[in-house]
Amino acid sequence: MSTMWYVILGAVSVAYFVLGGLDQGVAMLLPALRGDDRRREALNALGPMFLGNEVWVVGAAGVLIAAFPRLEGELFTAAYPAVVAAVLGLAALSAGVQLRGRARRRGGFDVLIPAAGLTLATAWGLLFGVLLHGVPIGADGHVHGLAPFADPMVWLTAAANVLLVLAHGAAYLHWKLGRPLRPGLPLLAGGVAALALGGWWLAAPAGIRNPVAGTVLALVAVAAVVVAGWVPRPGMAFAATAVACALPVVAAASALFPGVLASTLDPGATVTVDGAAAGADTLRLLTLGAAPLLPVLVAVQAACWWLFRRRTSPYW
């Protein structure tokens, strides 16, 4: 049961990294677009999907709190600064993107939105790096002190994530608006590939239990970015960057499994999926209450993408 909920947590996180990454990427690309019309067009390309994209992070946090309360408690404590930054970024991004069109002067929003996107992409990348690297959990099962934010590998992961969502956003805008963007997808794709591979091999953190599965998945993710850089059709390139955004989550989870939060102090103190999960009754309740509705949710979001498959702007 706890493994099933771990898979659901993974699926919801994947949804956020793919869809939310899209928002972050487009947000960061705003300064690369000249003129208010172009910028508005880019944000309108997110349009009806924006809210639906962002809410997956709320869903992921909800699953984390309910199904894995211990993981949530320890991880958030260890990565406090990164999580605070992410929350500030989330709030600023969601308010900024939705309110930009209502302001008379857009200058402030045009700084706020990319800054929020960059903060978010960096913070999630850091959190991701912390997960791979492990946190200082003592023998009592609790975190003592902050995660190793000084470690350059953690920052390398963050940089890779920033480049990845940039490539993702660029591919999306190319697909939706029919014009390639200047920052050049191939260049970004190459950067991500190099950073990801280098980071993965150099870091070789202690918490990793299944290096083969993790490495293979990471390589597939890198391959997807490379493909995205070379395929001629923008739709295909977008699909490829989406895969590339999804796979790191899967790769990290498989590499750590059955552990989920590695301890840098004491290998025995590593938090496992079972150890982090809520009680059986809670999981059964969640399974009955939420699991049947997840397909509905996916169907509604799919319907949203289909209904608004053409370019959109709201009437008011």
């Binding site: 308010a95 709201p314 008011w316």
Partner: protein, 417 residues
């Protein structure tokens, strides 16, 4: 200030300000759905214009409200790890159901509704706003299931590590601290929505621009009616909660006098040494809430009487009431904050009543770290509130015109984004 005080200040501020967004959102969405239903059934354009005008205010408020809600969700995880560790099993489950099946669905449907005017079939589009309203109410329900557990923990057993494990979900749903509180809170959102609609309409009608006279005339009448009914229900469901409070939280209404001292002795026997007296401000907040609600009922009843033959709009002597309605817009929100103060401050020193003390629920953070996050989050949330009301005021003042026609002839280029 200590880490605990920072964490409490931070959460109290975020939660009460977030709740002002919730009230406007919940109150408006049902009104908008009703307007759009009338439009779909009768085909009268004025209802479509109403739905679009108020829907726009609703969408602004929702967009900013999400940001404050996000801050709040993460604050629970960041600052209250004791709560997740010891009782997260039980109280986290309804919160997860809230985020997954209510909130995520609600936002998806709302995004489609905002962009769907004139693009989707009328019936599908109507279904979207009702779907949004239903999931919004479902959200409120799950959040209060969680909150009711904190007020009056039921349906759990402690395992060998002292962690609360869920044993009886039915007990969570039949919690005595749940249903009247839910009805009370939902009725209060009716007041907030109704008074907002009535107050803005009264203001627009006073400005004597006749283009949208019909839109605001009907909105004014609807707003007053809904506000009046909401106040009646809120007061009733408020008093209905006195029973369980006295049974489960003897200190909340005990004040600071002799009764309180007697109960302090009882609680020391039950839970061990500690200060179980609640702050004297709880009684003040309770009295304020009750008095304001009674006065509000009176005012809205008079306003309702003045809608007869639209005296409120046409008669000079009725002008003060029109002004009053506009001035009352923030009152339901402030009163609701007083209500939350009674409910939450009134159960101290407990985070989970009788089970987990607030002091034990806070994360093992340094006061320094919490000070910075408190400044950061508080500044952000307060800025969001100010931004919200500024944008709402601007949207409410928008000159009437083509913008609110439900089915414009040509595709508009104006953008939300």
């Amino acid at each position: 200030m200590s880490a605990l005080e920072y964490a409490r200040t931070q959460f109290g501020l975020t939660a009460s300000l977030h709740f002002t967004f919730v009230m406007v959102t919940l109150g408006l969405v049902v009104l908008v759905a009703v307007m759009q239903t009338r439009y779909t059934i009768t085909g009268q354009e004025v209802y479509g214009r109403m739905a679009r005008f108020w829907g726009q205010l609703y969408a602004i408020n929702y967009a900013v409200g999400i940001a404050t809600g996000l801050v709040m969700e993460f604050e629970i995880g960041l600052n209250w790890s004791g709560l997740s560790r010891l009782t997260g099993d039980v109280f986290g489950a309804p919160l997860a159901l809230e985020t997954l099946i209510a909130f995520v669905l609600e936002s998806t449907l709302l995004g489609m509704w905002i962009f769907g005017w004139g693009r989707l079939g009328k019936r599908l589009h109507l279904a979207l706003i009702w779907g949004t309203a239903a999931t919004a109410l479902l959200s409120a329900f799950w959040v209060l299931v969680s909150n009711a557990f904190l007020q009056h923990p039921v349906g759990y057993a402690l395992d060998e590590h002292g962690t609360a494990r869920l044993t009886d979900f039915g007990a969570l749903l039949t919690n005595s601290a749940l249903w009247f509180a839910l009805a009370h809170a939902v009725s209060a959102t009716m007041i907030a929505g109704g008074v907002l609609v009535a107050g803005v309409s009264a203001w627009r009608l006073r400005r004597a621009r006749t283009d949208d006279f019909e839109l605001f005339r009907r909105s004014l009448r609807l707003g007053i009616r809904v506000g009046l009914i909401g106040t009646f229900l809120t007061i009733g469901f408020g008093y209905a909660q006195f029973g369980w409070i006295d049974a489960s939280q003897p200190m909340k209404m005990a004040g600071r006098g002799d009764t309180a001292l007697e109960r302090q002795a009882e609680l020391v026997q039950r839970f061990g040494p500690g200060d179980y007296l609640v702050s004297g401000n709880v009684g003040v907040a309770l009295g304020l809430m009750i008095q304001i609600a009674n006065l509000l009922f009176l005012v809205l009843a008079v306003a309702q009487a003045l809608t007869f033959r639209d005296a409120l709009i046409h008669r000079r002597w009725a002008r003060p009431m029109s002004w009053l309605l506009t001035a009352l817009i923030p009152v339901p929100m402030l009163t609701a904050i007083a209500g939350w103060f009674v409910r939450e401050e009134g159960r101290q020193p407990w985070a989970v009543y009788g089970l987990l003390r607030t002091a034990d629920a806070v994360s093992p953070m340094s006061a320094g770290a919490l000070r910075w996050s408190t400044f950061g989050f508080s500044a952000l949330v307060v800025a969001l509130v100010l931004l919200d009301w500024w944008l709402l005021a601007r949207a409410a003042a928008r000159p009437p015109g083509e913008a609110f026609a439900p089915e414009p002839a040509e595709q508009r280029q104006e953008a939300l984004v």
